[in-house]
Assembly symmetry: C2
Homo-oligomer: 158 residues x 2
């Protein structure tokens, strides 16, 4: 595959905010994140998948100590946008495999996902870039996921 995984990275102390059923039309993503940016709340991941029936789900992650603040901002902006529900989870973490030549994402991702499955780790969210595959999982699975991925991609040998 030509890909070389150079490391496993993880971000602890994250929380996710999910807004389900927003209108899938221009301007909605800006209405959600504009006020969060104005409140100087740092955002890590932003994930939205393809919608259906004109609605989409929108999730972003923040550091755990700004979750309350971020939820207040969403609550305050309720009037300017319609959605079905807002929920948050404060004990999640992000685990990523980092490497070059990930063009063969499917083969690498397949191995990553299979490794997590073998260790009974459920994947809550997935997001990728050219050099990284990131998953959000429950915090309780952090140690086992990082250890298992180190073994899978043989990163233990120094």
């Amino acid at each position: 595959e030509g890909a070389t995984i150079s490391g496993i990275a993880f971000t602890k102390d994250e929380a996710e905010i999910t807004i389900k059923g927003v209108k899938d039309q221009p301007g909605v993503a800006a209405k959600i994140l504009g006020p969060i940016g104005d409140a100087k709340i740092e955002v890590d991941m932003i994930v939205q998948n393809v919608g259906s029936n004109g609605l989409a789900d929108f999730t972003f992650t923040v550091s755990r100590n700004t979750l309350k603040n971020a939820m207040k901002v969403i609550e305050k902006n309720k009037k300017i946008m319609s959605y079905e529900s807002v929920s948050s989870k404060n004990n999640i973490v992000k685990v990523s495999i980092v490497g070059v030549g990930m063009r063969s994402h499917a083969g690498i991702a397949g191995r990553m996902f299979k490794c997590l499955a073998k260790n009974k780790v459920n994947i809550r969210m997935i997001s990728t870039s050219e050099i990284k595959i990131s998953v959000v999982i429950d915090q309780k699975n952090l140690e086992i996921a990082v250890q298992a991925l180190h073994n899978e991609f043989k990163l233990n040998k120094k």
Copy 2:
């Protein structure tokens, strides 16, 4: 914000495959991408958002000329997994803003999304990494999106 946007990147000729309503339990993501990797189909983005009622939606993008092949692989593996529907769209593109110091993602993302909204460009998917915010949009909006983002982030001045 301290962020500096260094450029706008885009990937043409992409297609997306969305599998809605897969079981949100360990092993499912591996069942979807394992066979795609085995068929040596290159995957670009992989996006999954938080599920509800035990189900989640899973999307990945491939280059347009491998869409038929990828759909055949999904079809063949129907027996080993349950899902509500599979759909694909073959005229999508990925547009990204790239920069360092994106920790203030929300402010930067807000500007990106507002810019796209002003130009009536609907965002189909969103995925981020530490140095990049990527959106998937309809191909027909590619030129206007790239031009508008260049103006917004003042990248025209050489």
